[in-house]
Symmetry: C2
Subunit: 162 residues, 2 copies
DNA sequence: TATTGTTATACTCTATAACTATA
DNA sequence: TATAGTTATAGAGTATAACAATA
């Protein structure tokens, strides 16, 4: 429980958070401007597109998104209001809600995706070599898996400040 | 203007955003739980601590933070209300507001920093070798510099979706 | 009893625009 | 005219807790 990070770790942490913050800012702006979508809404639609026809439950959608259930319900409500998704009771489990993406939803994704990709490429990948990209992917995949493997969100309370 | 990222780029983009998202979630939770601070508030205090006595203007603080002026004013107002910073007119430029961190502000940072560092180490650095850390730092520093070098926020309008 | 999902509600964050004051 | 900062206001996101329905 040392009280500081090594200088190299500090530098890395700051570079990582700052770069990602800049990227996120631009990505959010693009999604909003070109598709009227929040980032979460885009994530939901992208997951549904990725599901390739299989319909997903609210729980499936929540999985991997670090939001509360009610937050997801809210966002799904907005997407449904705009006709981008539809919801219905699951045939298998009457408690579950099954979500499908609509034609309009797919069209919306198709609308914003090119711009989204442009932003990511221009901001992030234009400054990285293929080798950098692979290395970055390896390192961050490892980090992500490590974080995912942690005890959920109900881990032991963090150390007391003192 | 190709319409897709290479598979390797996709993988890297997803790993990066997912890992950082998980990290941010935990960091925010920790700062709120142990110090009642939003992430932005913590950033402001950290910048002031880092300034080592030199006082910063609101513009200095806004620099590097991708928020609106009014947002910064709001957050600074909260910090001042809680006695963590103080504001006064600049002696040099009457238009400017000079911000200083108070004793209580420093104490608050000292309170939350250990827990903050713990979270970052446990979630991020525990899964990375020293070599990974250096590489990640190099790559993300380059990316950050590239993003910072971009035309501000008033760049040409993004490509039209089509 | 546990799980799925929604609702009601309240709070926080952020942005836009109008405004004051100084350079 | 341009810059520094604040205020007022409104909108969007998120969370908590209570709730209904099903497993």
């Amino acid at each position: 429980m040392a009280d500081a990070l090594k200088p190299e770790q500090m530098r890395t942490y700051f570079a990582l958070t700052e770069a990602v913050s800049l990227l996120q800012y631009e990505v959010r702006k693009q999604l909003q401007a070109e598709g009227g979508l929040s980032y979460v809404q885009f994530e939901i639609l992208a997951k549904l597109v990725d599901a390739e026809g299989r319909s997903l439950t609210m729980t499936d959608l929540a999985d991997g998104v670090v939001y509360s259930r009610s937050g997801l319900t809210h966002q799904a409500g907005l997407l449904e209001r705009d006709g981008l998704i539809s919801r219905r009771a699951s045939p298998d489990d009457q408690r579950a809600t099954v979500v499908d993406i609509t034609k309009a939803g797919r069209a919306r994704v198709a609308d914003v995706l090119p711009g989204h990709v442009d932003v990511v490429r221009e901001l992030l990948f234009d400054s990285l070599s293929d080798r950098d990209v692979r290395t970055l992917g390896d390192v961050m995949s490892r980090a992500r898996d490590h974080m995912r493997a942690r005890p959920p969100r109900s881990a032991a309370p963090r150390r007391r400040a003192r």
